[in-house]
């Protein structure tokens, strides 16, 4: 019976595990983040030239290395150009939540961050990022005619799923090598300052969670405790060869019964008399001692001064 229950429990666990695996989102750490194709007067490279650029964002909270990754571009089906990101350059390691910018200028000899391909402003551009094992990490198609000069196609914020055209006006400014959305305030702090200036909301919600956590533990250990007590009882009955009914009877026997049995045993073993000279009185003794009453627990140890 128990084995069946354990089997069902394990199957359920497996099922839950498999289901949740199926729902997992892409866990690529590196994503394409912003692309500018027609660079007239935007960001300059280290040679002072205006070229198209591709920004990659490390959305994880650990450094990730781009070395040996592949950047691929295609302007038409079947025509794909690949740029192998060189190994051995420490700058290819992208710090947590930071960016790497590649110049799509067709000049790979100018350095690690200059690709072997160019982007074509007149056609659609498919750009793919692959890891060293040629597994696709991220891809994007910049449709033809979407971008004007100095406009970029970017995720709304770093790593977000939605893309938008950044025209450079208002809050839609082009952001090479920096956050797509500038965080110039502490949103959480401001939210608390605005809605919970006196802290009551925080106190109520946080205390609710603290109580929930400890109530969960309480319930769990109430159940575990009961199971453990039942188990130990069952084991004890098994070892003594008695059933539930007998155990109940035994547990209900008054102290006097045990005293009488002990006395009878004592008489049998040591002093067998027909007539007793003494009167036996039995008084229930309440033991106030427990291992906890040990004095070592009562106070801090007395300082020993020599």
């Amino acid at each position: 019976m128990n084995k069946t229950k354990i089997g069902i429990f394990l199957s359920l666990l497996l099922l839950i595990g498999l289901t949740s695996c199926g729902e997992q989102k892409s866990n690529s750490k590196l994503v394409l983040n912003e692309i500018l194709i027609n660079n007239q007067s935007n960001f300059q490279d280290d040679y002072g030239l205006h070229s198209a650029w591709i920004e990659i964002f490390n959305k994880s909270f650990g450094s990730t290395d781009l070395a040996a990754c592949l950047l691929k571009v295609s302007n038409q089906p079947g025509d794909t150009v690949t740029y192998f990101i060189p190994k051995g350059d420490i700058l290819t390691s992208v710090k947590p939540r930071q960016h790497a910018l590649f110049w799509a200028d067709g000049e790979p000899n100018r350095g690690t961050f200059h690709t072997s391909f160019k982007l074509n402003p007149k056609t659609a551009n498919w750009i793919g990022l692959f890891d060293s094992g040629k597994k696709l990490l991220d891809q994007i198609v910049v449709p033809a005619g979407t971008l004007g000069p100095n406009q970029s196609y970017a995720r709304v914020s770093d790593g977000a799923t939605e893309w938008e055209v950044k025209s450079g006006s208002g809050d839609k400014y082009v952001t090479p090598s920096t956050n797509n959305k500038t965080l110039d305030s502490n949103a959480k702090k401001e939210k608390f300052e605005e809605h919970d200036a006196n802290g009551i909301g925080m106190a109520i919600s946080a205390m609710s969670v603290v109580f929930c956590g400890l109530i969960l533990l309480f319930i769990a250990f109430k159940i575990v405790g009961k199971a453990a007590v039942n188990l130990s009882k069952r084991n004890a009955m098994k070892s003594k060869g008695i059933d539930k009914h007998e155990a109940k009877e035994l547990s209900q026997a008054p102290g006097e019964v045990y005293a009488a049995i002990s006395m009878a045993l004592h008489e049998m073993q040591d002093e067998v008399h027909d007539v007793e000279e003494t009167v036996l009185t039995i008084t229930r003794v309440k033991r106030s001692y427990s291992p906890w009453s040990s004095k070592i627990y009562t106070l801090r140890e007395t300082p020993s001064r020599k």
């Binding site: 925080m202 106190a203 946080a206 109580f211 309480f218």
Partner: protein, 386 residues
């Protein structure tokens, strides 16, 4: 000859500008006196000597005046100095989880497992944190600073350091010293509140002796404890994870060497480094501010609120319990997780009113629940405010 004497004179004058005497300020003297008071309390009064000796001496180290413009790399706030390197365990928050590992490896959760309802007292005492949070907001601190200050009420030094290093690093020195100071002063702060809030009849309530806890239950506790609390508050993982891991090392019975290391040499080493560097971080130029004074006042208040709420919660809880199952409200203070001092206070006060009523092990239940509760509360504050 005259030039040589002149040279010697200039050298000595130059040397003088580097000495502590030339650079001493009133702030340094005040802080050195504070350090001496800590050492006095530890040695003469035996108030938490394991904490107050390193912190007190650390205050002396951190407040030796020196020429800060000389780039000697001796100060705790000078990058690359030895003290600065040791202090990184505090600023980057990895000392506290290691302390929790040791606490887990030396804590027996049996009292809590045998009587799980005592966990709720540990939860109630966390009102101290959020009471102090509200008062800190009213005093003009921003929510993140208020959260870091409030955690002093959790009475858990490592937790306070961990949280303040994340939420308000600039207040960490004052918060850490305040938390440890008040933990040392638990025997002074708690008894009057406990007496004030309880009647004589309540103080002599005898609690049922708890049942024996099986080995299996003790092994299951850290596993279930980790899963339940960290699924609810993942941001508490560094502290709770290490606490329960340490406990599993102890209770599994098969990793005795690891448990002994965690609960002995490791926690001792980290305690020395933590205490010393926290003390040294109270460099007068950084520490002696009006904010520090406010933090000390708030720290005292948070302990008072935590103790009060623990005791009152037990009294309310008793209204719903059967007559033979009542809880002695004197263990309510133990929800403040200063382990095991607040549990000892319950025992001492309980014995004052009934010399055969031993409350220590009963009080250990809420006491260790308080450790879990304060780590959970820290995780919540981190999750809400970061």
């Amino acid at each position: 000859m005259g030039d040589f004497i002149n040279f010697l004179g200039n050298n000595l004058a130059d040397f003088w500008t580097y000495t502590g005497f030339a650079n001493a300020t009133v702030g340094h003297v005040v802080m050195i006196l504070v350090g001496l008071v800590f050492i006095y309390l530890a040695v003469a009064k035996e108030f938490e000597p394991m904490l107050l000796i390193p912190i007190g001496f650390g205050i002396l180290i951190g407040n030796i005046p020196f020429n800060m413009d000389a780039g000697l790399k001796v100060g705790i706030y000078e990058e690359g100095s030895v003290l600065n390197i040791l202090y990184q365990g505090v600023t980057s928050g990895w000392y506290p989880p290691l302390i929790f590992l040791g606490i887990g490896a030396m804590t027996d959760f049996s009292a809590l497992i045998s009587n799980p309802k005592l966990m709720l007292i540990g939860a109630a005492a966390q009102f101290g944190i959020f009471g102090a949070y509200m008062i800190a907001l009213a005093m003009g601190f921003d929510p993140m600073q208020a959260g870091a200050i409030g955690i002093i009420g959790g009475a858990d030094g490592p937790t306070a350091i961990f949280l303040s290093s994340k939420l308000a690093p600039n207040l960490m020195g004052a918060i850490a010293v305040s938390a440890y100071s008040y933990m040392a002063l638990v025997p002074v702060i708690q008894p009057p509140i406990m007496r004030l809030l309880t009647t004589k009849n309540e103080r002599i309530i005898r609690m049922k002796p708890p049942r024996a806890v099986s080995h299996t239950e003790k092994v299951i506790f850290p596993i279930i404890g980790l899963l339940l609390t960290c699924f609810l508050v993942p941001s508490g993982l560094p502290l709770l994870g290490m606490l329960f891991f340490g406990n599993l090392l102890k209770e599994s019975g098969v990793t005795r060497r690891l448990a002994n290391t965690a609960s002995g040499p490791l926690i001792d080493t980290i305690t020395i480094l933590l205490g010393l560097t926290v003390g040294a971080s109270t460099q007068a130029s950084e520490f002696l501010t009006f904010d520090s004074i406010k933090i000390f006042a708030l720290g005292a208040l948070s302990f008072v609120i935590a103790t009060t709420s623990g005791v009152i919660f037990v009294k309310i809880f008793n209204l719903f319990l059967k007559k033979d199952n009542k809880i002695n409200p004197l263990i309510g203070n133990a929800g403040v997780s200063a382990v095991p001092d607040s549990a000892r206070i319950s025992q001492v006060i309980g014995l004052e009113y009934d010399s055969t009523n031993y409350l220590l092990m009963h009080a250990m239940g809420p006491n260790v629940a308080g450790v879990i509760g304060s780590a959970v509360a820290a995780g919540i504050l981190l999750g809400f405010l970061m």
